[in-house]
Symmetry: C2
Subunit: 309 residues, 2 copies
């Protein structure tokens, strides 16, 4: 069976929406939206963004989730996807099928319509790009630049799992963290409701929490004070160095956002109702930098605040 | 200067639209459209879809044009773009700047807003993906499946230039065809008006004219009869073999479409008014295959009707 039959057999069945037309048109049709329509495009390259030893169904799920994370953090709901697969010469049908199985799983879970894309050969490693659109639950898009003095800084889930998981996966240790490195444990869909209702600025934690908080500070022309002792780390913190390691390792794919301090009680109550795991970890103040503390003592900001691939 | 400064220096200036927010948000904002919004995603890999010797500004233009061609052939106008660049380790700032210069040129020419994307490293060759949206000038999207018995088959521009250009470029010959191989000479923007007004089915000629006509025939459950003698080839045809070579080599990025025979005079008059180069080359009939002829004699359909990368 040729690689073009693979598309028929494995990829076409994933493209079930009317806008996909079974991948039989040159283009996909984006579903109309009454509210702002946003789009993100993330690329994963073998041995850079995932390990050659990672099962390919997990790679398919990771590709979707790193993009879903970008949409959710903006208070938006994932919608339509276009997929580019650049396959190495030695890529087999079984590998293609496994990749599609992982994609299928998360397309279904997140109710995303695959509407188009491209499948090509490469002389290099497996490279995957996904464009994902999302419908905002707000009238205007939440930016990185909206944080205001007096806002509180929040993060969802646990921080440090990406870095710990990479270490475990590279060592062949099958831990929960390694599972998160392969298939990121991202916030549930209704985080979009919370973000849309409260956030003044938001970002997903992909580079590293401190680095990503720095993006909000920079774009908002404000300073962000983070209490390392408040961050919900994946491991019990031994010392500042250990905390900084987990706050800079990235690949967490949690949502980091700011919201007015006066909304703090209402925000926590809403999060509880929605079953969301949200923690206040700092605040926005005057200035234009990141300030860190642990147990009341200042902690110097490390030179490397995150990891960019 | 680090590769992330390159984004600031070369890529950010291209993202001028409000929806791009200077590439400072995790997502881009798609511009709302009253009519159907479509999207395409094409990937170019070095040494597969372009030559390592091709100047990088031409690669940037080619990346845009292979996608623009998909949008135009659907009777739609290009709109917003997301860009993924996977750079080899040895990629230099000058190379990045050249690539962006080519992108900038065609983003401006075609009035396309770059609203987001991703820049990563790869251990493999330079790989570029572009997602491009388009606004249809019709109320419903033109499919490959709309051709009806009695329709006429048309093509824009010249056919065979992609194949001839690849041959010249590989031999180091600086011909017009080689220039077209690097920067495809696609139909002008107002082809979208003609397609929207008349086409029953359409596709862009990327695999090869016969292969792409076959896609229309298959999806429309109809037969397509092509007179090779009517095809506007890039070179004077010597014999059937020569004609078939040019009709199967692909990379032409012209628009191939069907329209009702009764509209033929009006269609040619409109094309003339719009300054468009459109030629009738065949017709749609009952059946479900491709039939070829030259000077009144049947020509067997070759086994390889096109070239897919």
């Amino acid at each position: 069976m040729s690689e073009f039959d693979w598309i028929d057999r494995y990829l076409r069945p994933l493209a079930k929406s009317p806008g996909a037309d079974g991948l039989r048109n040159d283009v996909g049709v984006l579903r109309p939206a009454g509210s702002p329509l946003i789009a993100t495009l993330d690329t994963l390259v073998e041995s850079i963004h995932f390990l050659s030893s990672d099962p390919l169904d997990t790679v398919g799920q990771k590709l979707l989730r790193v993009n879903i994370s970008d949409i959710l953090c903006k208070g938006a709901v994932p919608r339509d996807a276009l997929l580019s697969i650049a396959m190495p010469e030695a890529f087999t049908e079984d590998q293609f099928a496994a990749l599609c199985e992982g994609l299928s799983r998360d397309l279904d879970t997140w109710n995303i319509a695959l509407i188009g894309g491209d499948t090509v050969r490469t002389t290099g490693p497996l490279s995957l790009s996904l464009t994902l659109t999302g419908t905002c639950l707000t009238e205007s898009v939440i930016q990185r630049s909206g944080a205001r003095e007096g806002d509180t800084l929040y993060v969802t889930g646990k921080i440090g799992r990406g870095g710990l998981g990479l270490r475990d996966a590279q060592s062949g240790i099958e831990s929960d963290h390694a599972a998160h490195y392969r298939v990121p444990d991202i916030p549930p869909l209704n985080i979009a409701d919370l973000i849309a209702a409260f956030a003044t600025a938001s970002i997903d934690v992909s580079d590293g929490l401190i680095s990503d908080a720095g993006h909000i500070a920079q774009e908002s022309e404000a300073s962000i004070q983070i209490d390392l002792g408040q961050i919900p780390f994946a491991e019990t913190v031994r010392d500042a160095e250990h905390a900084l390691e987990m706050a800079t390792s990235g690949d967490d794919y949690q949502t980091l956002f700011t919201a007015p301090a006066y909304d703090q009680h209402r925000l926590h109550a809403t999060a509880k109702t929605l079953g969301l795991d949200v923690t206040a970890i700092g605040s926005v103040c005057a200035g234009e930098c990141i300030k860190l503390s642990l147990n009341g003592a200042d902690v110097p900001v490390p030179a490397r605040t995150g990891y960019r691939h």
